[in-house]
Symmetry: C2
């Protein structure tokens, strides 16, 4: 039933009329507010409820008389409080739903974000849809993934915040997204799993069809208590979760930043044949630290052979550059281009990335100069980096460190947007890029070993 039901639910957003209900009545922005749902002059298929917890059971019974099929309860204050009477109230809510045949989303959740159905619960979410489906037990963790990743080019098909999972649960949603043709990549944030064997089967089937990026909340003792207080979940221990991900081939991440990184890699990074990385960047000391971080996090930064270095040296400055990989090209990066000729930066990238010992290229840039100098000297840095990525002979990504300084970030942010518009995978730190690309490679090896296309 899941698929039909959830497809139906998402259909409600399209063109149905919207009714507001509040005991005080009146109007909101010119729309009539009904004092009671009984007063609404037509059936009400889908109800979004913020009534207090003690009024929830009554609402279900009232809705049954209005032909309601689904209630999404934002309402919190049930079992997750740890108070026995409120846990009992939650069970009464479930009983009322079962009795009336109404399905519940939540309680204690933010509900649905589905751009194509015009469902959303946050005005900043994009209206444009994309290939990522996301199920999140936390509503806040929907905003904390969608908002930052939208600026890195990630768009969503269907997003469900499902809270206490009293009725519709993580298995229903995972099974649904696994089948959903609009969803090519699945992301999930899960605190509790109610039915372990069913969840394992759902995850196995999902990973056989599409990449699944999975974050488990509550993998430590403190985190598990937090999860219990948050959504009333019985969270498991980390090793169990890690094994489950390993066995099913889900990509296990520890934070929402890592999740966004994994989505960017899956969505925008062409698949490298291996982990041998050409590092191109600005700054000697920065190149050293970045290379250490890459090699500690699964990527190797091999030496370019002497003949390749010699070819680059012919047109590059020795002083202040490192040419053997990492290639610190900071002294030549902003050399003025001659009209009609290729820039030094481009020639260098073409030569170095063509080397057979290189599988991928990462170009990086950070901004600490005074804002005026950045705007003047680096006006074209976006074009330069995009050109380098496009002329690279191997799959490529960029690292652009955000600045905490608003004046600098107001330069960096449009730069990132420019690169994202050119479909460049953009990461915010060396560790993020290395982890995500390494995870992408590991995911590909897993697929190959299981014969998944």
């Amino acid at each position: 039933w899941t698929r039909t039901f959830l497809d139906g639910l998402l259909g409600f957003g399209f063109d149905r009329p919207l009714y507001l209900v509040n005991p005080r009545g009146g109007e909101i922005r010119g729309i009539k507010v009904y004092a009671d749902i009984d007063d609404v002059p037509s059936p009400v298929e889908y109800v979004v409820s913020t009534v207090p917890a003690r009024a929830a059971v009554d609402l279900v019974r009232k809705c049954a008389r209005k032909g309601t099929r689904v209630i999404h309860f934002c309402t919190a204050g049930f079992g997750e409080t740890g108070i026995p009477e409120l846990a009992e109230l939650e069970q009464q809510l479930l009983a009322a739903a079962r009795e009336t045949g109404i399905r519940l989303l939540g309680p204690n959740c933010m509900g649905v974000y589905c751009p194509d159905s015009r469902f959303s619960f946050d005005p900043i979410f994009p209206r444009e849809a994309g290939p990522v489906g996301y199920l999140s037990q936390s509503g806040g963790n929907v905003s904390q993934l969608v908002a930052p990743s939208m600026h890195r080019g990630i768009r969503f098909s269907k997003v469900f915040s499902y809270g206490n999972a009293l009725d519709i649960n993580e298995c229903d949603l995972l099974e649904y997204l696994a089948e959903d043709p609009a969803t090519e990549i699945i992301a999930m944030y899960v605190e509790g799993v109610k039915d372990g064997p069913r969840f394992r089967r759902a995850l196995e089937r999902a990973t056989a069809r599409k990449p699944v990026v999975a974050l488990k909340g509550g993998v430590t003792a403190g985190g598990a208590r937090a999860a219990s207080g948050h959504t009333g979940s019985l969270a498991g221990i980390e090793t169990t979760w890690e094994s489950l991900c390993k066995q099913t081939g889900a990509m296990n991440v520890a934070t929402l930043d890592e999740m966004a990184d994994a989505l960017v890699a899956l969505r925008f990074m062409r698949l490298p044949a291996g982990n041998r990385t050409l590092v191109v960047g600005g700054g000697g000391g920065a190149s050293v630290i970045l290379t250490d971080q890459f090699e500690k996090n699964g990527l190797s930064v091999p030496r370019l052979p002497a003949d390749v270095v010699e070819r680059i040296r012919e047109f590059s400055s020795d002083a202040g550059n490192i040419l053997s990989n990492p290639v610190d090209y900071s002294q030549n990066m902003f050399d003025p281009e001659q009209p009609g000729t290729q820039s030094k930066m481009d020639r260098m990238v073409e030569i170095a990335s063509a080397h057979s010992g290189i599988d991928l290229m990462v170009i990086f840039m950070s901004f600490t100069a005074p804002p005026s100098l950045i705007r003047e000297k680096m006006a074209n840095v976006g074009g330069l980096m995009i050109q380098a990525v496009q002329d690279s002979k191997k799959p490529s990504a960029a690292i652009i460190e955000p600045s905490v300084l608003p004046e600098i970030q107001s330069f960096v942010f449009p730069l990132v947007q420019q690169m994202v518009a050119a479909n460049v995978p953009v990461f915010y730190s060396a560790v993020s890029a290395a982890r995500a690309i390494n995870a992408l490679l590991a995911h590909e090896r897993m697929k190959r070993s299981r014969g998944i296309a």
Copy 2:
């Protein structure tokens, strides 16, 4: 000699006249440019040189006739290029220096930043001095530490970028900062160590006197090659460095962000008696992930006992909050304050932080709402967080996640500045805060076990 010499060098900044020298002559901003150093009408004690590498030896001989005591060579293009003739040129430079008695800083470095001497090489560095001394083999890594950490309240006594360390080297500088009365905390970024036993002795003596935060560039094979191309350093392997830090009690960090975090903890965090952390924040899902990150990185987040939770529950909302630690107080955080009465947030913090099972408090906040809503609803969030930290009965810190969105960051940045001005240790992520506080605790245990005050 080191101390006298470097004190002398730093003295040159104060009140000596500045002469510009360039073969083209003329004027820069109204200051006469001499065509040759021989033309300068007085002795020249301290020379900052950007002549090409091939002109460096000649410059030393010329300077000897002008009574020069120190030359800081920005000039790069010596041994670090890996080209034998240029390595030979570097040795000739050293020979000329020894012969003339002139001391060299560099080559291939950015030199000195010392606010009290009015020496600087970057216009954005603060003019105000502070207790952190920093030696960095990389000039870029001076900017990459000073610029971000200045916005978190860190100020510097004396900073040396020393490049290829041809003459003045890491041991000289470390010994100097260990003795320097203006330096209370030492930070160092080192790529190569020329004299292992001397470096170990210098580090032992430094750590016995003040905290030393140490970052080694080139701890992987790729990183070591990068270091060799950057400053001609022979970098060692990671395990050696880790052992050295462990044995001497230096705080070993892997990135400059971690270094800034360690400096913030050392400078602004009152010392907690243990690692049992009260987590106060906004958002349920965020609290769960943050708690997992804390417990994975050395801090524990213990349950508050039932009687403490009951006292908090008396005036707090159950719905949408978690009260047992982590305390997700997002539903009550912005409750309007009654004039003359304590806010709910403050009462909660006072009660929870007073519990004997709690050693420290961390309060966190991130901003994903639309900028207009943030400005309106969270106008006083800075005051609220500062008040919470000040009313906490235990050492406390704040985590404020920067936003990549310039409109939001232009709200977040002044908020951070407001908290920094109130001497609150501010971190940018859960992992950063947990690592830094855990390192602070480990450092204290080390000191106690060695009987260091």
